[in-house]
């Protein structure tokens, strides 16, 4: 099976033996503290280190405004719990990260998607959504956005788009929840400034070590204005008492004693080769009518199938052909996305990616033949989508 479905980072290139030795030393020298309860906000030395990491994306922050979480996924949950009541509206890109949709749903919030283009979420559509919802008496609590190499589309917001979004947040008094797990995994250019780097007032920021180091430690963080931070700490304490202390000691040691910036360059080279393998294989194997994004970083390509195909219905054929993907419907709260799929290039080797794309091309072609055989040109019950909600246009550069 070639799985182009999951989003697991490839951590095989980490210097595991050296990390193991460092962790052994950590236990010997600081085990009593590292294996004890810790601060609900997270250890001060860890928060100091995180300010250095965020500086790579031009974020100037004080360690006091950081709350360490059990992965940024918990940060997402804490922020939602602090800000939202059942029935509130959260705006999100169309499509958006499935794990965020799950968290919002679990907190009984309604997700309203806002269209994207090749430069990210479209400001005029965002403005329209906010005005329309508020006019209808709905409480819009925040915009959830992944500005860099978005999951699932791989699309990044341009610097101009980021500035527009921040200005719009002030114009309509809207909080932005910026989720940035992939920002440092830029493959073609230097990182753009985070939204939080452009505005400290309207942006709550979620960061993570899962992609730049390793997800098993489960360490992420929230950077939030002071008043919000206090509520987050209280919520964190009631949920877990404190984020994983040992993991914080281990990651702080990694940041102290290893060339973590150099390791990110190693990761970039590895992911670039995989991204390139996928982007080179797609035009060779995909049938006419297929479109896909051209991510400049991160883990994902977003594929739009030829008219009439349904990625969920096609999945059994793909599994039979030993290739897996994530159907596009997973990334919409409103049932759209049946013509789309997310392809991950993060975990399989370039050779396996090429083989997977080849198999996928054969699957799609066979599905087209079967549908043509039975005279099915358009999937029944498929909602007709407005142009801007079809998903991001492919980057032709």
């Amino acid at each position: 099976m070639v799985s182009l479905a999951g989003g697991m980072p490839n951590i095989a290139d980490l210097p595991r033996e050296a990390i193991g030795a460092a962790i052994s030393k950590l236990i010997a020298e600081n085990g009593v503290q590292a294996m004890q309860y810790g601060s609900g906000q997270g250890e001060p030395f860890m928060r100091d280190k995180i300010t250095e990491v965020m500086a790579e994306e031009q974020i100037a922050a004080h360690a006091d405004d950081i709350v360490i979480t059990c992965g940024s996924q918990q940060g997402l949950d804490l922020v939602t719990r602090v800000f939202c009541d059942p029935g509130d509206v959260i705006l999100a890109e169309a499509p958006s990260y499935v794990g965020a949709l799950g968290t919002f749903h679990a907190n009984q919030c309604e997700v309203v998607h806002v269209a994207m283009d090749e430069h990210g979420i479209v400001p005029q559509m965002l403005r329209h959504a906010v005005h329309t919802l508020r006019a209808a008496g709905r409480k819009v609590k925040f915009l959830y956005t992944i500005p860099n190499f978005q999951n699932p589309t791989g699309v990044s917001q341009t610097l101009e788009r980021r500035r527009e979004l921040v200005a719009l947040a002030h114009e309509v008094d809207l909080l932005i929840l910026e989720d940035n797990p992939y920002g440092l995994l830029t493959l073609d250019e230097q990182p753009l400034p985070a939204l939080r780097a452009l505005d400290a007032e309207k942006v709550v920021y979620l960061g993570s070590f899962s992609k730049t180091f390793a997800p098993g430690f489960r360490v992420g963080w929230v950077l939030a204005p002071h008043a919000v931070r206090e509520k987050l700490v209280l919520t964190q304490e009631s949920a877990t008492l404190c984020p994983p202390v040992f993991s914080q000691f281990a990651i702080a040691k990694y940041l102290d004693e290893f060339d973590w910036r150099g390791q990110i360059l190693v990761f970039r080279d590895m992911y670039r080769a995989r991204r390139d393998a996928m982007l080179e294989a797609l035009p060779e194997h995909m049938p006419a009518g297929s479109q896909w994004t051209h991510p400049r970083g991160g883990f994902f390509v977003w594929l739009t199938l030829p008219e009439g195909l349904d990625s969920q219905a096609m999945l059994p054929r793909a599994v039979t052909a030993r290739v897996a993907y994530t159907p596009g419907t997973a990334f919409y709260a409103d049932g759209l996305g049946s013509r789309n799929m997310r392809l991950s290039f993060c975990f399989p080797t370039p050779e396996r990616i090429i083989e997977g794309v080849k198999r996928l091309g054969e699957v799609i072609k066979a599905e087209l033949v079967t549908r043509a055989t039975f005279g099915i040109d358009v999937t029944p019950a498929q909602p007709i989508r407005r142009d801007l909600t079809v998903g991001p246009a492919p980057d032709v550069n």
């Binding site: 099976m1 219905a313 599994v319 039979t320 030993r322 079967t370 549908r371 039975f374 005279g375 099915i376």
Partner: protein, 313 residues
């Protein structure tokens, strides 16, 4: 004589029913552990041969559904490796898994089966789907059933109520393979009869009746707790229950199955109609064989252990 080596419960594999298999495997492993002895849970992947080769006197208990577990491939590999296993031979597994082969074999022994047509995708392409669909409707009438020739857990199976639903149903079936079965839809009470064979003599367990809340015993109804009401033993007359057991034993015997199987039947006008037999029945908490074992007053763990002992005889 009881087997003393490690028991390797094989579950998972790369099939559409992987998740179900993992749940079945976990349940069987727990049941076997309750009987003592070493139990190892293993997936069917590139590490398996090395694992089995490193064990002393192992016996395999495959609990794989669909593809690799039921088409005889795994059993063939175990025979090549010289490892005894619970379940049917490669040939019998293949016969059972291919519904287009198993059904006529069972029907030849005076068992009622639904009238059906087995058609490859290419035939629809060559002759024109419109013409064949029309002929199928005229032959079987509506509603009818469309399903893949090689699949389990009702995956790719659709009840078709009218001609306009046929194209989508055919596409769904062909998502699981190149051959589809179109058959008369049998209206009646849906039941299952499990057969176990621990001492060389197949024994039919009590009939279990299936009443899905949605009216359709699809994948969701099969594996979501509370979605289906099971009645075990089914409330049937002795004659009908005996007829069901007879059909299940006939299928088990005619197809050359071994150790365990489960026949799926529909009772129409007190006559059991044979739908299919599974050589690797589900063992999850909502599966039919464990329910039948309980209804028979047997201990599931003890039965699994007896099957292991039978495999090494």
């Amino acid at each position: 004589m009881a087997h003393t080596g490690p028991i390797v419960v094989l579950a998972g594999g790369l099939s559409h029913e992987r998740d179900v298999s993992l749940r079945s495997g976990r349940r069987v492993a727990q049941a076997l552990r309750s009987q003592g002895g070493e139990v190892i849970e293993a997936d069917v992947n590139a590490d398996l041969v090395e694992l089995l080769s490193g064990l002393s006197n192992p016996v395999a208990f495959p609990v794989l559904h669909g593809g690799v577990g039921e088409d005889g491939g795994l059993q063939q590999a175990l025979e090549l490796l010289g490892i005894p296993y619970v379940g049917s031979s490669p040939e019998a597994s293949r016969r059972s898994f291919n519904k287009d082969i198993s059904s006529p074999l069972v029907a030849a022994h005076s068992v009622t089966v639904p009238p059906r047509a087995v058609l490859p995708h290419d035939m629809f392409r060559e002759l024109g789907a419109k013409h064949l669909i029309k002929a199928l409707g005229q032959r079987f009438g509506y509603p009818l059933m469309v399903k893949p020739a090689r699949s389990g857990s009702a995956l790719g199976a659709t009840r078709v109520n009218e001609p306009s639903e046929m194209p989508q149903a055919m596409v769904s079936a062909f998502s699981y393979g190149d051959v589809a079965i179109v058959e008369e839809f049998i209206v009646g009470r849906e039941v299952a009869v499990s057969v176990v064979e621990t001492d060389g003599a197949p024994q039919a367990l009590p009939v279990v009746e299936i009443q899905p809340n949605s009216g359709i015993y699809d994948y969701n109804a099969r594996y979501t707790a509370g979605e289906t009401r099971f009645i075990a033993p089914a409330e049937l007359s002795d004659e009908v229950a005996a007829a069901c057991a007879e059909v299940a034993l006939t299928a088990h015997s005619v197809l050359g199955l071994r150790h365990l199987s489960r026949a799926d039947l529909i009772i129409r006008d007190d006559v059991p109609v044979f739908i299919e037999t599974n050589s690797a029945p589900g063992m999850t908490e909502t599966s039919l064989l464990p329910l039948a074992v309980e209804a028979a007053g047997l201990d599931f763990g003890a039965l699994c252990r007896q099957l292991v002992d039978a495999a090494v005889k």
